[in-house]
């Protein structure tokens, strides 16, 4: 199991951050992702595999300031 924004979801073997965002239907283009407190840059989403028991935080950046 992994935790995504406080929700428990199934662990999928060899799932990358990019895959997880797709599975969670997070379609926003600009997101900040932290896994177990560590930042994953957008450029690394396709190469970063999520391990079992990870805690994932996804924040959606919205224009305006």
């Amino acid at each position: 199991m992994i935790e995504v924004n406080g929700n428990i979801v199934d662990f999928v073997e060899n799932e990358t951050v990019k895959d997880l965002l797709k599975r969670m239907k997070y379609t926003f283009p600009n997101v900040v992702v932290k896994i177990n407190g560590k930042l994953v840059k957008r450029a690394d989403f396709a190469d970063t595999v999520i391990h079992n028991d990870s805690k994932v935080a996804v924040i959606h950046m919205i224009s305006g300031g």
């Binding site: 900040v32 840059k41 957008r42 935080a57 924040i59 919205i62 224009s63 305006g64 300031g65």
Partner: protein, 198 residues
């Protein structure tokens, strides 16, 4: 007022420094609140000039239209408190180097506009200064719905966040909500700097 507490806070804030990326709706209002609160040194980065359309929410005045924003903002800070050290950088932040002006501040505030640039900034800061507190904001557009806003704390990243807000190009930007969220950011900055002195 608790005079002893106020004095202790004044001393601590005077020694503190805050860097602000962006001097628009969020940034200009964050800066003014931090100046009034007594933060001793402010580092402000923006590349824009004041436009008439900014005056509905940004801390500028009619006679400042056409001025470089960081210069206009410095003028406004000095009208409140001459003793505050204000360092201004009139330049666009470039992805990969966005952390550069903020090496020497205690807390960093993300007050940028476009989602893409906001994300790049957060990545640059968390990558280069993982130990430095960063106060960011996402979802300022519209009016009402302030109860949807909360602070999401992820390590040293404090996000003032309304995940259900629309992108600003599909909505409106108005003073009440922009200023509420700017001051929400400023309030978090004080909390970080003052810590145990609550």
């Amino acid at each position: 007022m608790n005079v002893e507490k106020a004095e202790k806070i004044r001393m601590k804030l005077q020694k503190s420094s805050v860097g602000i990326a962006g001097a628009g709706g969020l940034g200009s209002n964050v800066v003014i609140s931090l100046a009034r609160a007594g933060v001793g040194r402010l580092v402000i980065v923006d590349y824009d000039k004041v436009e008439e359309s900014n005056l509905n929410r940004q801390y500028y005045f009619r006679d400042q239209i056409g001025m470089v924003k960081v210069e206009a903002l410095k003028e406004n800070i000095k009208k409140i408190d001459e003793s505050i050290k204000v360092e201004i950088i009139n330049n666009k932040l470039r992805p990969g180097f966005m952390h550069k002006p903020f090496n020497n501040v205690d807390v960093i505030v993300e007050a940028l506009d476009e989602a893409e640039i906001k994300t790049s900034f957060i990545e640059d800061i968390m990558n280069n200064f993982p130990e430095k507190p960063l106060v960011a904001c996402s979802g300022v557009s519209g009016y009402g719905n302030i109860e949807r806003v909360n602070t999401k704390k992820l390590g040293n990243l404090y996000m003032v966040y309304d995940k259900d807000a629309k992108d600003s190009d599909k909505d409106v930007l108005m003073a009440p909500r922009v200023c509420l969220m700017a001051n929400w950011q400023a309030n978090i900055v004080l909390d970080i700097i003052l810590g145990e002195d609550k």
